[in-house]
Symmetry: C2
Subunit: 223 residues, 2 copies
């Protein structure tokens, strides 16, 4: 099901290639597919908006379309499926997410600098991108039911683990040590803390963010 869109595109390619000069078509093909893909990402970004607001369960294609500049039919033109669309959303989300702390990691010159930078980014993320993150937790849960999501979700989870590991490694390095925890345990810890804080934050618990920061601050030296 997921490859129907691609098949249609390939079919179109074949048809063109059979008619015109191979050379000209070949160079024209690349920007065409890039344009196609760029549109997919535009649509995915629009979809992420609504998904972040309503969650997977309550989001329909029509709702996505209404909250965007597109009509509901376009989504079927660019995606074979609702799942195809959401998979694309998840993959796109990944790219934006996974490098969140990298700038802090490379620029920090001391343990304190890394700590403060990390905490600041953590708090900012929790407060300004709450919708995006609850969607991530939603979709990760969906992956437990929907096999079609699993591959992408597991991949992103690995990337996030690696992201946390980069922070922790750098922190240990700045302390002249090696992390004592495994990547998996560290990710589980920070992800669990973040998830809990996010829920409390969304429930208007004013102490959610400061308590998360205090906890992480206390935890960082022990990793």
């Amino acid at each position: 099901m997921i490859v129907v869109t691609k098949r249609r595109r390939k079919g179109a390619k074949m048809a063109r290639r059979a008619t015109g000069a191979a050379q000209r078509v070949a160079v024209a093909e690349v920007p065409r597919d890039e344009k196609f893909n760029a549109r997919r990402i535009e649509l995915a970004e629009a979809a992420l908006e609504t998904l972040g607001e309503l969650g997977f369960a309550r989001t329909s294609l029509r709702e996505i379309a209404q909250n965007s500049a597109f009509t509901h039919g376009v989504f079927h033109y660019y995606f074979s499926d609702k799942l195809d669309l959401i998979c694309c959303c998840v993959r796109h989300y990944k790219a934006k997410c996974v490098t969140r702390y990298d700038e802090v990691v490379v620029s920090a010159r001391s343990r304190e600098e890394l700590t403060e930078g990390f905490l600041a980014k953590l708090a900012a993320t929790l407060e300004t991108e709450a919708a995006m993150h609850r969607l991530w937790y939603d979709l990760r849960s969906q992956a437990m039911f929907e096999p079609a999501f699993r591959k992408d979700v597991l991949e992103i989870d690995k990337s996030l683990e690696a992201m946390i590991w980069r922070v922790a490694s750098r922190y240990a390095e700045l302390s002249g040590r090696q992390p004592v925890s495994s990547p998996a345990a560290l990710y589980a810890l920070f992800d669990g803390l973040f998830q809990s804080a996010l829920l409390r934050h969304l429930a208007n618990d004013k102490k959610a963010v400061p308590e998360l920061l205090a906890e992480v601050r206390r935890l960082l030296p022990t990793i």
Copy 2:
């Protein structure tokens, strides 16, 4: 909306109480409400079956009814709402879940005994109650979107944190120590590890359970 069912019951009560002898009615009222509540729990249990299989997003009242001995109308008689039903499910789930490791905690006479008992229970839970647990993660994510779920979910989360804390405290006690981590951090850690292992387990990753056990075994002495 949520209290409509209760209101209807109270109305029935009032009507009865006004007609008959107060004494007889008073003693008859208790088993009636107990019966009513028992039925609610029966229905909630039936609903949990389907919810665990399909997840919140894909579960309809009719589907729940078809996978059970009830008709779809009964649910509207006992619950004001779909949300009311699912809230009841969540609360009922809690009672079963929160005491999972308590027997191990009280019966363990040594650190090793506690470790082995805890790990065995952990593995058994992951393998035999995977559906129930993915539902929990699903509903916890839903709570980030649906305010009606938040109170119950946050309450259960607290209970689970306390459950983990009981295990950790006992473990430290058997080592003649006090836990060095906070309850929140310990719960985040174990919950994160469990969640990740559950997803991998559901994705047919044979190494998910053993790796979880190894990680926990390695972590327990450090808490």
